[in-house]
């Protein structure tokens, strides 16, 4: 049974379906919450923690994308505390990978770069780890650069949920974690990859890109995704 609940977000009275997430309710009412792993048309997993919000009466911060709305909930999406956490998260992402905006194909069209800008990050307080990571250029048309991957798993989800191939997955833990094709083979040797390029279209950074692009030349096309998801659902019913 689905019903309608009323709640407050940033002091604004809002009505939402009770199965909706706080993020969805906020978006539907023109309230912006920063996100990175979220993308309309894909399942929500609460991986990046950028959408953390405050809920009155709860000392813990909760990820807005996977927390359902509740009757009389009082949500704050922006505060000094939240800003501090969001800045730290983005700084950690920069420090953990090798993100060099100036020479990246996605310069000017990168969600990590945009987040740094909107959060006012003008330097990293943490030392960069500069891990030695690989670039997989074995595919005929695309490149996977692990240096620029933030492990949002959009590629994993779009490949599984929309394309139905489940070529991508994540291996290992902590700083060793990385995206792999099939059972950790070179992308070009993957038997399940259909070459559909949906993963390339959804990548927020310069980790999955078209081959042959130079600095700042990468652009994505994502408008198809919510429609594709909607059509698949309707056909399935």
């Amino acid at each position: 049974m689905s019903g309608v609940v009323t709640l407050k977000i940033n002091g604004q009275d809002i009505g939402a379906h009770d199965e909706e997430s706080i993020l969805q309710a906020a978006l539907d009412n023109g309230i912006e919450i920063p996100t990175l792993c979220d993308l309309p048309g894909l399942s929500r997993i609460g991986a990046c923690r950028l959408c953390l919000v405050e809920i009155a009466g709860n000392s813990n911060l909760v990820p807005a994308c996977i927390t359902p709305v509740q009757e009389d909930m009082v949500v704050t999406t922006d505060s000094e505390r939240l800003q501090a956490y969001r800045r730290t998260i983005v700084e950690l992402l920069f420090a953990e990978g090798n993100h060099v905006c100036s020479v990246c194909v996605s310069n000017g069209a990168c969600e990590l770069q945009d987040l740094a800008e909107t959060l006012g990050i003008d330097h990293l307080r943490l030392p960069g780890l500069h891990p030695a990571r690989e670039v997989d250029a074995s595919h005929e048309r695309f490149i996977l650069d692990h240096n620029r991957c933030v492990l949002c798993t959009r590629c994993v989800r779009v490949c599984d949920e929309v394309e139905g191939a489940h070529t991508w997955d994540v291996t290992a833990r902590g700083i060793e974690s990385q995206i792999i094709a099939d059972l950790n083979v070179a992308w070009g040797d993957s038997e399940s990859c259909t070459g559909c390029n949906k993963c390339v279209q959804v990548c927020p950074t310069g980790a999955l890109v078209d081959k042959g692009r130079s600095v700042g030349e990468m652009r994505r096309r994502r408008e198809f995704l919510p429609y594709l998801t909607m059509m698949r659902k309707e056909n399935g019913k």
């Binding site: 060099v100 905006c101 100036s102 330097h123 030392p127 500069h130 030695a132």
Partner: protein, 177 residues
């Protein structure tokens, strides 16, 4: 009227930030009336003065010479500005951090097809094991990201600093800009 003492220094960078500074164009003339450029790759002064008001630092700290220089400069500067992504982040020079300075030297100077392979030591400063952003070595007062930061941003920031204000760079520049 006493003019503010401005210095600019070029560590491990491509000089692009200095080029962008020069791109301020004719407004440099107006700027020149309120400042005295006391040390810079653009002027002939070989000694860094003792009491500089604002120093713009281009480039990362990559070798022993960069390190000595920036420590020396910090002690003699009121406001130290990290200008551009190399100073702020390490940027392109820091690409070598994934393999380390020694590996880079071996790769370049001991390549098997060279006629006289040898790592140079005389007359060149030794590389630091890791390329560092300026604020990892000395205190930095203002950060101006960008590769390079636009002339507009540099002009604005320098103007604010000379007026005694902290420049607000929100929405004006970014990493890689």
């Amino acid at each position: 009227m006493t003019r503010a003492k401005l210095a600019t220094v070029w560590l491990d960078g491509c000089s692009g930030c200095h080029m962008s500074f020069l791109d301020i164009d004719e407004r440099l003339l107006a700027l020149a009336e309120s400042i005295e450029l006391v040390y810079s790759p653009l002027v002939d002064n070989k000694v860094f003065p003792d009491d500089v008001d604002v120093t713009l630092v281009e480039g990362s700290v990559s070798n022993q010479d960069d390190l000595d220089k920036i420590r020396h400069i910090r002690q003699r500067t009121r406001l130290l500005v990290s200008l551009g992504d190399c100073a702020v982040m390490g940027n392109v020079p820091a690409l070598r951090n994934t393999i380390g300075g020694d590996a880079v030297l071996r790769r370049v100077y001991l390549a098997p097809d060279l006629t006289n392979p040898a790592i140079p030591t005389a007359g060149v400063p030794s590389l630091l094991p890791e390329v560092l952003p300026v604020h990892r070595v000395v205190k930095v007062d203002v950060f101006i990201p960008g590769c390079p930061p636009s002339a507009e941003v540099i002009f604005y920031a320098v103007g604010e600093l000379l007026a005694g204000r902290q420049p607000d760079l929100t929405d004006k520049t970014r990493f890689g800009a």
